[in-house]
Assembly symmetry: D2
Homo-oligomer: 346 residues x 4
């Protein structure tokens, strides 16, 4: 492969975010995956673990000690929370840029991070430096960032849905409601009873109503945009599908606003945000496998409650696809490169 | 079968409400199903259409003309909207009591009914007489009713969830929000592209955000309890499961209230409403196949937004099971008779 | 509860077989569940683990040491393989009868058992005594048995499907083929990546083609009936549903036989085996939640290959329901007691 | 778009085969979709019907009269059976090449076709000319064909699975068994009760055991390869997934053969057939959205029964992807062009 290609390393990558990242990168014309590391699976072929990648990825998982990640242009962390913060500094010092798909660098307030993630943070100074990788808000900072905190899946769908309303101050910022539904892949590829097929199929439930880790992440993002604290009720639900997030957002309007025009204008130049025509109801499958966020806006019965519907694929725009979008921005590549294939429907 | 048993007729019954009604009635010790009518399927054995009932129901569908429904004690209408209103009067005149599982008698305001259901109403006077069959509100009137309007599936879950808050005036009645999710059986057993497996599986979407027929039904019920009009935003969603409704309800609290105590007290004597312990998240499968409504109450981050979670099986407490509960009440039988089996999990 | 009721103990019971056994026993009019033991969950309410049982089972899991199982009339083992064989002898010695829902007593040849289950057997002499609990073959021995080996899920569906053909010698016994498909609950309620929703939904695969533990169990059963060894190819598959087994059986006919008449006659008096009319295709949902096995027989294009379709609910006739059927037989109760409810469809 | 690109027309295209064909062609660098016709949907934007294609396909469905299909290089028929045979001749006469994704030209024996498809054939002479579009058998004829009969979904998976065994004569050709399982999208995007979510989810069933239209197609293909009639028992099943076919094939070996070596050699140069390592079990999701057929071969217990596992995506290699593969061959393009993306897993 050519010397001008990006040399990429992946730490972790045995989960769903990992396989999706590999799917996208293996089809990226400017990327060479130099190494993917996993202590547990070292020596196993990637395509043995994920047979969908047979013929597309010939790498084996390797031991971190052998990966020479310091020779990479960019390293992705597709690891559990708490790993990237241990390893980011030495990579950055070696001139390697880093995108963390986990949560280590998402929350600026270290005390809040430590409360929700239940561990001391290893490098608070890097949290300050890290850029929150939501291009629709931080595109310019992303381009020059050394360290990207790739957003969570719920936070991406919810923030993109609320953003125009918050920016214009048209909503009661003290009583925002985000009723969000996720497919089961959002719980990861870990052996856990609550993610079993026989526990989750033909079933629907809310979870984490008293508090969920994505609440402070969303609140931080919306509060930054609003330049004041917002009040948010966030209720995540588990729905029996593999991929997809559907956020149903409720806001009390405090100003007269043409929602459709507002959203169309705000996202007119965004390649991955698609505002649907009036009256539409986006389906999660309409973005399956793609980096798109589709949004529809409603004002039922002409009242003062706005209802925003926002859908993404949690593994793409909610994780690996957004990471590739960030990578493209960081290295001056076309933003949509290797990320613009059509969704898979049905 | 004995002369003291109830002679029951069923009109329609080729849909999911019908097969569920047959399942419950076939196991009811005080019921004799005299006839089930279907013009389209006349002559076909019920168990040919629904093989699950082989060995439990030996009836054939018969032509309405031959059914002698006027000899029944009670006739259930498990028909599309607009049928029961054509046939109820003659049955009532013959001394037969009627439970309509469709929507013909649910809305008291005829103009509103005609707007949402798109047809003129055939018997407005009977609408006045009809009792809305939600026993948790109208138990006494149900006992003596000749004509029952069996509630819709969403309205049952939403009203039971909001009821204690409305009764006590603890919520801002102008800005109630019901974010409801239904399994696909709620769309009925009609050939329709939007209910196909390949359209609904691995997918999630809202629908009817501008307006849904169950909105006026819920608004009517809550307004009656509040003794004033309420403002409600109702957003139904389709989720890839067969049975189940999950209503996530949001209300702004305007009084200090112990939600847990309030709900436990309100439903202490209700055989089919189960208030879960603090912190719980009811799953739809925990009521699958049963007449239960399970409810949990939350107040996230101690704020002023109450979050109520309410789950039912749309075909049981949301349709056939509630109809049997009403039947038991109407005929002085134990309210839970033939309706108290355990849910099927997993 | 009355002194004449059966006192029942359950060892284990935190898995799907356990919750199903509890569902059935909690509705059995002649049973008192005295204790359910689980070291791991001791002290937890059964209905906390399985909310579907709230209001039906008020027991807590207790430590085995406190359960006084020796005072029971009957103890069910709903445990992993290898547990019952450690505890059965002392219970039997105390006069307690035992039904093992795991595999410890199913295989008469100890060497074969030890090969497939990977451990030494603790009590080969009890294996000799144990009765294989398939009532359609061993009804009389079950009545008087002290120790029942409750059959596996695949073996029940496959043996009932092949039985009439084998008994009459109408098939080539050296080349039987059983292509079987199971819902995911058959893999149990254990945290395992291969049973996750995101691994099994929208997917279909065979597994264990080189060899599966149910192969020797089925071979043993068919060989006993044939009074000679049979040759069987058994291919299990995982299908994205919760419950259900569908066995598609292929046999070369070596005698002219009226398959429909043969099967109808063989099962005419079996309360839980339902032979469908000619041309039928049984669906797994037509037995969901019930103890039924429904069978259809075909001879495509009038050739010499018989195709038998046999469906069961793996948790009922394939596990807990059959155990209750065996219990009823052992204690002289009506065989179908508390086991004759209608299946849940849809 | 450039004059050197292929001008493509699509007749039909409102079904699942159509949307998949549009997904693939919209990403094909050498294709210009000139028109897509639908009498019923004329005037509707393709992306209105299939929102997944927003941003990828800007065409509207048009009336056939306006489509000027005679100006195309190639026309695909993604129509119900019986349409292509009415329109193919005039297109061929105009110099347009044709690929029919329906069944009109698949069966060479007109009497057999008319029996299974229940209508008289409109152009038997074109059936003789048509080339059966399975490149692994007919690659050279496809290159020069004017008219392609694109194979059915089951026939593709079954024939590719059996092919090496038949070619070498290693199997008993009188007793082949194909136990095949299909996702529900195989039934099409037609409003039909039997394809509803609530009818097919959490359920498994066989269908068409007495006879299925794909039986004569498979038999014809295998018989041509064998140069003698073969005896085949074909049992299709419906499994609750959207996409995917899993064929489990059984053959009695009549010669000693190294199955693994045989299959690897036969398919060594086939870009879309992947023979898995010994002991593997291909999953349908490992080919989801891709044009691959993955195959594993087994010989359980070293006996004389070969078990072949063959999986495809019914909408890709079983329909639209194979059609694109044929198109590439017909026009001298790289065979895998626009068809080599990685499968979507999970």
């Amino acid at each position: 492969m050519g010397g001008s290609m990006l040399n990429i390393g992946i730490v972790g990558g045995t989960g769903y975010t990992g396989v999706e990242l590999l799917r996208l990168l293996s089809q990226h014309p400017e990327v060479n995956i130099q190494a993917i590391t996993s202590r547990k699976e070292a020596g196993m072929g990637v395509a043995e673990l994920f047979p969908s990648l047979r013929g597309h990825v010939s790498l084996k998982f390797c031991d971190p000690a052998e990966a020479r990640l310091d020779k990479c242009d960019l390293v992705f962390f597709a690891t559990p929370n708490g790993i990237a913060m241990q390893q980011a500094r030495s990579l950055l010092n070696a001139g390697v840029r880093v995108i963390d798909l986990a949560a280590d660098f998402r929350i600026k307030d270290i005390a809040i991070w430590e409360k929700w993630y239940g561990m001391p943070h290893a490098c608070p100074d890097l949290v300050s430096e890290a850029v929150y990788g939501l291009p629709e808000i931080n595109r310019d900072q992303i381009r020059s960032a050394r360290l990207i905190a790739n957003p969570g899946c719920y936070p991406t769908a919810v923030q993109l849905g609320f953003l125009p309303l918050i920016e214009t101050g048209a909503a009661d910022l003290d009583h925002l409601i985000a009723d969000a539904k996720s497919g089961v892949s959002g719980a990861g590829r870990n052996a856990a009873v609550h993610s079993l097929f026989a526990e989750t199929a033909d079933n629907f439930k809310a979870y984490g109503v008293p508090g969920h880790r994505h609440l402070p992440e969303i609140s931080q993002g919306l509060s930054q945009v609003a330049a004041r604290p917002v009040g948010l009720t966030f209720v995540p639900h588990l729905t029996p599908m593999i991929r997809g997030i559907h956020a149903t957002l409720y806001a009390r309007l405090v100003a007269d606003v043409d929602l459709q025009a507002l959203y169309e204008k705000r996202y007119a130049n965004e390649p991955f945000v698609d505002v649907l025509p009036p009256g539409a109801h986006p389906e999660t499958r309409s973005v399956r496998g793609s980096n798109l966020c589709r949004i529809a806006v409603h004002r039922p019965q002409g009242g003062d409650t706005a209802v925003i519907l926002s859908v993404t694929d949690n593994l793409v725009k909610g994780a690996a696809g957004q990471a590739v979008q960030n990578m493209n921005l960081m290295f001056g590549l076309p933003e949509t490169l290797a990320n613009s294939h059509a969704p898979l429907l049905p």
